[in-house]
């Protein structure tokens, strides 16, 4: 099984294709390196060996400790609903690391004179700038009941992450009870995709009660779609347009 990352580059001036290719290569290198270090599918990845107790935290690449620090923050902010330590088989930061890696992969592309870049890591989007100067990116959110349709459009503040049980089957687990959760779609916007990714996971598990996370968290906002009629959003959620019958409440 694999996945696809798309990188979309927006610019108004001429660019040397080689220069773009070099920066894209660097971005891609960051994504691949994260996969090598953090893969729970590769038995010899440093994270897999840490989980089996073959290596200590002092013996693995320091980025693992960095990511686990971010996981601790995400666990606290989500009031325990995001909990990589509750997963059987050892700590699993996968719910944060994809967003974290995509966010970092933007860096080499910032050196180019572009209006904006979008990195879409299998449905979670890290970006800077926009399609033109002064325009934010508009991001469609997939309708959980019908993946061929959009539920709504948001104006990206940088990161847009979505989570739900509808695409890969029921892979979300309530960290408090261990039970699988029913279908709900959650989207989180904010400045950084690592935290947004983790919070989207937490929000999909918690459902609408999880919107409380955002009352004390600056710059991050959340949306929960239970059904097309039952839509809930935090107060500052950057909704640009909605195709749902229910209005966010």
């Amino acid at each position: 099984m694999g996945t696809v990352v798309t990188i979309d580059i927006f610019g108004e001036n001429y660019h040397d294709p080689l220069q773009i290719a070099r920066s894209v290569d660097a971005a891609e290198g960051i994504l691949r390196e994260a996969d090598e270090v953090f893969s729970t599918w590769k038995p010899q990845s440093p994270l897999s060996r840490l989980r089996r107790g073959e290596l200590t935290i002092g013996e693995v690449p320091t980025v693992i400790a960095d990511v686990l620090d971010e996981c601790r923050i995400a666990k606290r902010v989500s009031r325990g609903w995001f909990d990589p330590w509750s997963i059987p088989g050892g700590v699993d930061p996968t719910g944060l690391v994809k967003g974290w890696a995509a966010q970092r992969a933007l860096d080499p592309l910032r050196e180019l004179d572009l209006t904006g870049v979008l990195i879409n890591a299998a449905g979670d989007i890290a970006s800077f700038g926009g399609p033109g100067h002064g325009e934010p990116f508009r991001i469609g959110v997939v309708c959980p009941g019908d993946l061929k349709r959009l539920a709504c459009v948001v104006e990206s503040p940088g990161a847009v992450a979505s989570s739900g049980t509808y695409e890969r089957g029921n892979h979300l687990v309530n960290p408090f009870t261990g039970a699988s959760i029913s279908t709900v779609s959650a989207t989180v916007t904010g400045p950084e995709l690592g935290l947004a990714d983790a919070l989207a996971t937490a929000l999909a598990v918690a459902g609408r009660v999880g919107l409380e996370f955002f009352s004390s968290l600056k710059n991050y906002e959340g949306l929960v779609i239970e059904t097309t009629d039952n839509v809930y959003a935090s107060e500052g959620f950057p909704m640009a347009e909605t195709f749902l019958s229910g209005r966010p409440s």
Partner: protein, 84 residues
């Protein structure tokens, strides 16, 4: 959520008034040009989806994690084909 799922492919699209709308990079995944093979899967159904995403004037699509197989059917894939 999990991109840490084994094979990773990266698609790149550049757009803008001076940057031509071309795919400037495909990834060699163990000898297979996986991104390219995805490009070649021109599923007619995607055109319908592409129309719906085009009318929404969006640059990206967010949704729960998809696999490579899921990507081919996804709205993001339809959008990428448009080269917006």
């Amino acid at each position: 959520m999990n991109y840490v799922y084994g094979v990773l492919s990266v698609q790149v699209t550049a757009s803008g008034s001076k940057i031509s709308r071309v795919t400037i990079g495909t990834i060699n995944d163990g000898g297979n040009y996986r991104s390219q093979s995805i490009d070649q899967m021109a599923i007619p159904q995607l055109e319908q989806q592409a129309l719906s995403v085009q009318s929404a004037n969006i640059q990206g699509v967010s949704g729960a994690s998809y696999t490579s197989a899921g990507f081919r059917q996804s709205l993001q894939s339809a959008l990428s084909k448009l080269g917006l």
